[in-house]
Symmetry: C2
Subunit: 456 residues, 2 copies
């Protein structure tokens, strides 16, 4: 019973699609965030559910760790094989297997990326709404319970996945959920796997909901003298129940970075980026109402982007914000915080975060899906400087603790992975132990993505 025996047995199944060269292993040791590299013993490039099942059955018997890997864009080190063993590279399972325009759903394999899916949907008048920024894989997005800029209107992965095919730790293949819009038929196993970060099973197929491309879309940016004013505009908009599609805050640090990288020429002050979806009339109505709210909050420079290319440029810049901050701070890596709070507490939370960063020795900026009460601080630590990392983690912990104090969560959308396990007990108390019991039930030998989400 060993990793070596597992490798030998899996090589018999996959042939040369089991790779153990240093180069391939090193490719699967990296992450975009600050987590140390972690080398797997081998990488399995699987192509079918059946193969995933056979591979997991072997790993289960041999007690070999298995970490699923797709686009590799996770921000809490979820996809790193911290205990070695096998990485399961899912990117060859990348077929869009069915699209039903009548029922507004699609069946996809886990290695399909969200951009690939939306490209495939172009002729149907439908789109897949969840948009975490990175061109993540559908499997990874489900496993992380991802959301992003459009969750405000269309929901998170929890709301947009109706069924899954999952391979359990021992190789059993199950199907959860149906294509019906709702169901009361038993425990919500689909929901149990969404957000489980590959610790309960490996997702091999997803049925996802699609939305109609709105008749009218309009986007806007507007500038504020202070973050407090911008956040007040957000809180008022949400409390009025306006069905706005996107509502993103970028503080001055990000605007400076975007101006440099994307040549945006925005004033160096906090901004909101907004988007409205609906019929021509309803978009106009929403936009007018929000325009009034913005003006009441001393917002200025309200610029409409009615042409598709201007809108795309705005959201491309928004999605490039993480990299733009990196480019502003060469030689530094990012520690990204991710709290989400009840909307009435958002102003205080952001102000406290800003003040904490200003009082520290490391640079950082704040950005967020503020309509959901979710925001991030991107803290820039000198690569390899453990003191910087300690300061950043301390800032992150303070933000998380404040979120918990007001009934919020330590992670709005990035998940727990390696980075936030320290905070799980504070958020969940005894319920974290129940998660551990659930993990043990699904994966009694602890082979699935060990070292993540649950207590060791």
């Amino acid at each position: 019973m060993s990793v070596k025996e597992a490798k030998d047995r899996i090589a018999e199944i996959l042939g040369n699609r089991l790779a153990a060269t240093r180069a391939v292993r090193a490719e699967h040791a990296r992450n975009e965030a600050h987590f140390p590299e972690a080398m797997p013993d081998a990488v399995a490039f699987v192509k079918t559910t059946q193969e995933v099942s056979q591979v997991l059955a072997v790993c289960h018997e041999e007690a070999c760790p298995v970490t699923a890997w797709a686009a590799g864009t996770a921000l809490e080190g979820q996809h790193l094989p911290t205990r070695g063993g096998l990485v399961l590279n899912m990117m060859a399972m990348n077929a869009v297997k069915a699209v039903s325009p009548e029922d507004m759903d699609a069946v996809v394999q886990p290695g399909v990326t969200r951009e690939q899916l939306n490209e495939d949907l172009r002729a149907t008048g439908l789109f897949f709404s969840v948009d975490p920024g990175a061109n993540a894989s559908m499997g990874g997005m489900a496993a992380t319970r991802a959301s992003g800029t459009t969750a405000l209107r269309y929901g998170t992965m929890r709301d947009n996945v109706s069924a899954l095919e999952v391979v359990l730790a021992d190789g059993r293949i199950i199907r959860t959920g149906t294509r019906a819009r709702k169901s009361s038929a038993g425990y919500d196993l689909t929901g149990a796997f969404i957000g489980s970060e590959g610790t309960l099973g490996v997702i091999t197929q997803l049925t996802v909901k699609l939305h109609g491309v709105p008749e009218a879309i309009s986007a806007a940016s507007c500038a504020f003298a202070s973050v407090a004013d911008a956040v007040q505009a957000v809180v008022t908009t949400i409390q009025m129940g306006i069905p706005i599609a996107r509502m993103e805050l970028l503080d001055t640090g990000y605007i400076e970075a975007l101006n440099v990288r994307f040549g945006l020429q925005l004033p160096d002050t906090p901004h909101l980026f907004l988007e409205f979806h609906g019929s021509d009339d309803s978009v106009r109505e929403q936009a007018e109402t929000v325009g009034t709210i913005v003006a009441d909050c001393n917002g200025t420079n309200f610029f409409w982007k009615t042409r598709a290319e201007d809108r795309n440029a705005l959201w491309q810049a928004r999605h490039g914000a993480y990299e733009a901050m990196g480019a502003m701070h060469p030689g530094r890596r990012s520690v990204v915080t991710d709290i989400c709070v009840p909307i009435s507490h958002l102003p205080d939370m952001i102000e406290a975060a800003r003040s904490d960063i200003d009082g520290s020795t490391i640079p950082g900026a704040i950005i967020g899906h503020v309509g959901d009460g979710n925001f991030h601080a991107q803290l820039m630590v000198q690569d390899g400087n453990m003191e910087d990392l300690k300061i950043a983690k301390n800032l992150a912990n303070r933000m998380a603790q404040r979120a918990l104090d007001v009934g919020g969560t330590i992670s709005g959308e990035h998940g727990i992975g390696q980075g936030k396990r320290d905070l799980m007990e504070a958020e969940h108390g005894a319920a974290w132990d129940v998660m551990g019991e659930m993990k043990h039930m699904f994966d009694p030998r602890g082979i699935l993505n060990p070292g993540k989400l649950i207590r060791d």
Copy 2:
């Protein structure tokens, strides 16, 4: 280790709030559907979470069955103590503990009914949207994953509960979820308890989402020559993405029953009852579009209900449909089916159900939240006639099997309870076994609502 010892020990905790008189036990043996009466050994009228915890700890030690009971409106016999033991009457835990208009949420105890909550919210401009018809309890609605007429626009209990307090089988008290609008912090335990029908734990507190009362509401009824025409109007409306709030089908049988009971004077043909929510302009726009669709589908008698009292009369009639059918068929009880299918299959499903009923010897009518693809047949069986019951169950099974054949579910909103366990394997396959494993993990001695949802 026995039920008797459990009773003695619980009497020490609750005093005269543990009742074992025949009258009280008989009150907790009944249901509105066709399930046989089931007498508990005693009924515990609990008042606090702490008491629920103490009682469950005793039942766990004594291996005494415990079935939670609130409004008693379940339609699949979920609340009947089929194995005897203790009924936990939750109706004294009926406080609305907090309402936050800013964050649009409320904290309630499980015995609060939906009408009570909405009464409490009247001054806030907010409402709780889930509306299964019956004045069910919030705890029961969560346990059943209830939905109803407004799920089309506002979602089911799965979408409207953000956090729970739950007492586990062994008496441990846990909290799941937070007040944030979204979270990626670990397994979705809230989702695990919603729809678990009291088999995994007892819900003692819920944090629920509220919605703003829309600026404008308008309702309408319209008549169709055939069910097929009515359903075609539904399918078109949904596929066009119109954010309609309610879209209910009633076939001729129901219209006859409502005309008798509520003096509605509608033509004796299939009808849609509709409701639009939004701003004045958006409601007008939605209504115009749907009006055109209805006309294209040969809809007639399009009657607007703009005054609140006319709207209320319409929905009161809709909510009274179940009783109205009962009144049309004295001496008979109801077997209610509850499939939900992808919307494109709705016309075929309803036609096949209608034709099955017409070919049988028992009367029945069809009604449904058709915008979600969910409909019910209310089949009227002679009280005590086992042959009738067999015919009804056979009809129900055929409908369920057809739903599964097109990727639908055996229960849209009523749950599994005792009534649908036979169909669980057909819907879930090996995943039903996984539900059983989950049940065993949460409740190793099998005390919580035994005989429901999972395999024995």
